[in-house]
């Protein structure tokens, strides 16, 4: 125990030098492990959600953008398709069709305009309150509710998509009617509304004061003017005034989750979108994500080699520091030997000090990896968002 005692005393006396050594070794150990852990968490989250989504229909273009936007609510914006595609899938009897409208945000969370089928498909249940039922109602993912401290009865406002677009989107104040149970997916960080509410946010559905003839006579031609007040909040009193002009079948959706009953129906449905002349495409998210992960892990292998070289350089530096420390302690060792210390004891003393430094670095590295692990979901979400 004396060797440990002396080694510890030496470490404590040179506490700053020891701290730098410990921190350097800990980083060398922790950085690769943390990267590995974060990438694994991201891979798992990406793959799990992709595997759980059989088919995705969207506008022809980047398949990756389509998948990242529809599954992970990234800010990639694929071209919209029309609501008529949703009806067409339903009418084909080959799949359930769940529309998704993803264009807006509220308090930095994506606003997902969809139907109640989405919540059923993802197995999302309300932990508090209820699901959305009418225009202007919102259900919050667990993460958003926790972050904003909101619950049923509170309200939140959509963010204008462009502050300088005066003719465009105005904020809509939405009423929170429910909070979903945590799911550990991107759904925790989203705000869910009926797709018609998303269209109201987009400005293609709206509510305003009655437009009547000035004299109020029945049958008189209505007169609209800039003085007519457009509602920025949907309330029981004004909900009846909200309406949508034109054919709803032409209204935009970002993507459609298609849920075929079996593999045969999925195959047939995919076949219908093979024609390159069509403006739409059907993709299997699992395949798209597998390709993406393949690329990520190719990059990771290169990164591993670079990290390995940096780690080697750092360890050589640490070894040099230990060697120089031993050189500085030659006199101490000579004295110990003159007093009657065995040379093996001197070696044990040095090894004990190295072991203590490595142990502390190991504990610190484990702490860093654990801390990174507790943030892995958050970091994975960030990585997915950045992908």
């Amino acid at each position: 125990m004396s060797t440990l005692y002396l080694a510890w005393a030496h470490i404590v006396w040179h506490r700053w030098r020891s701290a730098v050594l410990v921190a350097a070794i800990a980083l060398v150990l922790a950085v690769p492990a943390t990267i590995e852990r974060l990438l694994t968490a991201s891979e798992e989250r990406l793959a799990a959600r992709a595997e759980a989504t059989p088919l995705l229909v969207g506008a022809r273009g980047s398949r990756l953008d389509l998948v990242m936007n529809a599954l992970y609510f990234s800010e990639d914006r694929p071209d919209p398709l029309s609501m008529a595609e949703v009806e067409a899938i339903w009418d084909s009897g080959l799949a359930e069709a769940i529309p998704l409208h993803l264009r807006f945000q509220a308090e930095a969370a994506p606003v997902v305009g969809t139907t109640l089928d989405y919540l059923s498909f993802r197995g999302l249940k309300t932990g508090e309150g209820r699901v959305f039922a009418t225009l202007g109602e919102a259900v919050l993912g667990a993460g958003v509710a926790r972050r904003l401290g909101l619950g049923p009865g509170d309200s939140l406002t959509s963010a204008p998509s462009n502050l300088f677009d005066l003719a465009g989107v105005y904020p809509l104040k939405m009423t929170v009617v429910g909070v979903l149970e945590p799911s550990g997916t991107q759904d925790d960080d989203a705000v869910f509304v009926d797709i018609k509410t998303a269209w109201v946010i987009a400005g293609i559905g709206h509510g305003h004061d009655d437009v009547v003839a000035e004299d109020g006579e029945p049958g008189a031609a209505p007169r609209a003017s800039a003085a007519i007040r457009q509602y920025q909040e949907i309330t029981p009193e004004n909900v009846e005034s909200f309406h949508f002009h034109g054919d709803l079948a032409a209204y935009p959706v970002s993507a459609i989750l298609a849920v075929p009953p079996d593999a045969r129906a999925a195959m047939i449905l995919r076949g219908r979108y093979l024609d390159a002349e069509l403006g739409t495409q059907a993709v299997v998210p699992d395949r798209v994500i597998s390709e993406l992960l393949g690329r990520i892990f190719q990059i990771k292998r290169s990164l591993d080699a670079a990290v390995g070289l940096v780690a080697l350089a750092a360890l050589v530096g640490v070894g040099l520091a230990v060697f120089l420390s031993l050189q500085l302690r030659q006199r101490e060792m000579r004295t110990a030997f003159r007093l009657g210390c065995r040379r093996s004891m001197i070696a044990r003393l040095v090894l004990a000090e190295i072991a203590l430094l490595l142990s502390m670095a190991g504990v610190l590295a484990a702490g860093i990896v654990l801390a990174a692990g507790s943030l892995a979901d958050q970091a994975a979400g960030w990585l997915i968002g950045a992908a």
């Binding site: 002396l6 005393a9 004295t335 210390c341 065995r342 004891m345």
Partner: protein, 222 residues
């Protein structure tokens, strides 16, 4: 305490040779060894403590023939029966004065560090006038106080012989006398013999006997 007969020593590289026909140190005696640099004084201390072995002759310390001991036995012998005081104190800056005094117990499993030993360390420090510095580190002490601590360390194992290599060489005149007095006093109190290598001729009259070492050297010490 020390009995040398027809001792010869040569460094493997050659050049320097030491021949000592006869050299004795009685129990409790205070002997000063003088001589110019390179005359073999420090080599003598190394031979007596078993760090180096003679190439011929007899060297008995406390009744034991040093050259016949194994490495381990010589280390144990050094640790238990010989105390060392060095010119530059050789205290460890990362240990307190208490732990420096107890250092021989920390570097060997053969010596058991117990409550009595700790009490002895404190008593030695008190007797040396550094009781108040017991928990401090060497860099907080004056040079004289550091050498007092080194003397305490040399005596902690209750050795039969104390070897002092220029123990006062790094001290100012006032401290030289005080430290030497302390060394004499504590060595006498412990019943040990003292063999001190010194260049300082002013101090020689205080020793029981003085040996001029220049007569034993052949060649130059490396």
């Amino acid at each position: 305490m020390i009995e040398i007969r027809d001792l010869a020593f040569a460094y493997p590289a050659g050049g320097f040779q030491l021949r000592i026909p006869a050299f004795d140190l009685a129990e409790g005696e205070r002997l000063a060894v003088v001589g110019p640099s390179g005359s073999g004084k420090t080599t003598l201390l190394d031979l007596i403590s078993g760090i180096r072995l003679p190439s011929a002759g007899s060297l008995r310390v406390d009744g034991e023939e040093v050259s016949l001991m194994s490495d381990a036995a010589r280390r144990a012998f050094r640790l238990r029966r010989i105390g060392f005081v060095f010119q530059d104190f050789e205290l460890l800056d990362y240990l307190t004065i208490q732990e420096n005094i107890l250092y021989p117990y920390r570097i060997s499993n053969a010596l058991k560090l117990d409550v009595a030993t700790r009490a002895r360390a404190r008593a030695l420090a008190e007797a040396a006038g550094i009781g108040k510095q017991f928990g401090r580190h060497p860099n907080a002490l004056s040079r004289g106080e550091r050498q007092r601590a080194a003397i305490c360390r040399s005596l902690i194992t209750a050795p039969r012989l104390v070897l002092a290599d220029e123990a006062t060489g790094a001290l100012d005149p006032d401290n030289k006398l005080r430290v030497l007095d302390l060394l004499f006093e504590r060595v006498a109190a412990e019943g040990a013999a003292l063999l001190a290598v010194t260049h300082d001729t002013e101090l020689l009259q205080r020793f029981d006997r003085v040996v001029d070492f220049r007569d034993y050297r052949i060649g130059a010490e490396p």
